[in-house]
Amino acid sequence: MMTARQITSETKVDSLSQQIINAYQKNFPLCSRPFLQLAERFNVSEEQIIARISLLQEQQILSRLGPVFNHKQAGASTLAALAVPAERLDEVADMVSQFKQVNHNYAREHQYNLWFVATAANEKMLQQCLTHIHRETGFEPLILPMEQSYHIDLGFEVDFSEAEVNKHEH
């Protein structure tokens, strides 16, 4: 097992990476050499930019460099929750994570203690997936699709002032 110190030093984010993160969660350039545009802005080389972003990906800080879709236009999606006995939570969570339609899956402190987002090409396939999850886990999902969005996810500014990065995550 690695010590906290090792993990911290491995996932340290330098100031260039911090600047990239806070400047490019939206409006990534759509041009032939996008990384070159970042390089010119931060006064470093294109290779350095690509290396930093690749490192963020290796460290699993970067999920991807690409689009966040509007679920309503791009397909069908819903938030759902299960109420699972505490001693079975990890086991049921793993069953739910196995579904390729499930992208986010979290434990939360509530009687409904497993919360996930399922995404599919259309409403019918989404319902099939939720039915499978119900059947396989034995727990009936609470299905809570988005009806109205009041706040568009534009990324958010990361406060690196106490840059204590990722001590316990999997």
């Binding site: 993160i21 460099l65 236009q73 499930v102 090409a121 609470l142």
Partner: protein
């Protein structure tokens, strides 16, 4: 069977066929390749030009199919491990007004209306508050709740204590045959 079952594909597009549009959509879903000319790499995979790829993504962004295009960060990895989903029970005719107040708060990253599922679930307004620890999130929420319209609302904080899976959605669109 009509290929227009996938609403965002444009059969009138003179440059990219429906199949090529879908290939591009599926390719960018998992992220750009981290090479000097990422759009060219995608273009070569699909058999179109770099300009066509850039034009298509630009179109999708303008149509609102793409909400944002850039780095998608796992905030937990940067120390934001105390993420609370805050759920509110708001009278239906008040929801829009309350949601506008919440959406203006700097610490609120998402704010959605969802259906109640009675009797199990009475809450109809959801927002996310991210912080580096529980105290910080609770303090931020307490501050938000000083707002006169929010004070008396029934709410609940659902802290997340573990992430089992966190990645972008995969729609897995396929053209019917």
């Amino acid at each position: 069977m009509s290929t227009n079952a996938i609403a965002f594909l444009n059969s009138e597009n003179p440059e990219l066929s429906i199949e090529q549009q879908l290939q591009l959509f599926n390719a960018i879903e998992s992220g750009l390749p981290l090479v000097a000319q990422p759009y060219l790499a995608l273009a070569e995979e699909i058999g179109v030009s770099e300009e066509q790829v850039i034009a298509m993504i630009t179109d999708w962004q303008q149509q609102g199919l793409i909400r944002r295009f850039g780095l998608v960060i796992r905030h937990r990895k940067l120390g934001y491990v105390a993420n609370a989903m805050v759920v509110w029970d708001v009278e239906d005719e008040q929801v829009d007004a309350i949601a506008e107040i919440l959406a203006e708060q700097k610490v609120v990253t998402l704010c959605y209306r969802r259906p109640r599922v009675l009797p199990h679930w009475p809450y109809n307004l959801f927002c996310m508050v991210h912080g580096k620890n529980r105290d910080q999130v609770e303090a931020q929420l307490a501050q938000i709740c000083q707002h006169s319209e929010l004070k008396s609302l029934s709410k609940k904080l659902l802290f997340s204590n573990k992430a089992y899976k966190q990645r972008g959605g995969r729609y897995q669109h396929q053209l019917a045959t």
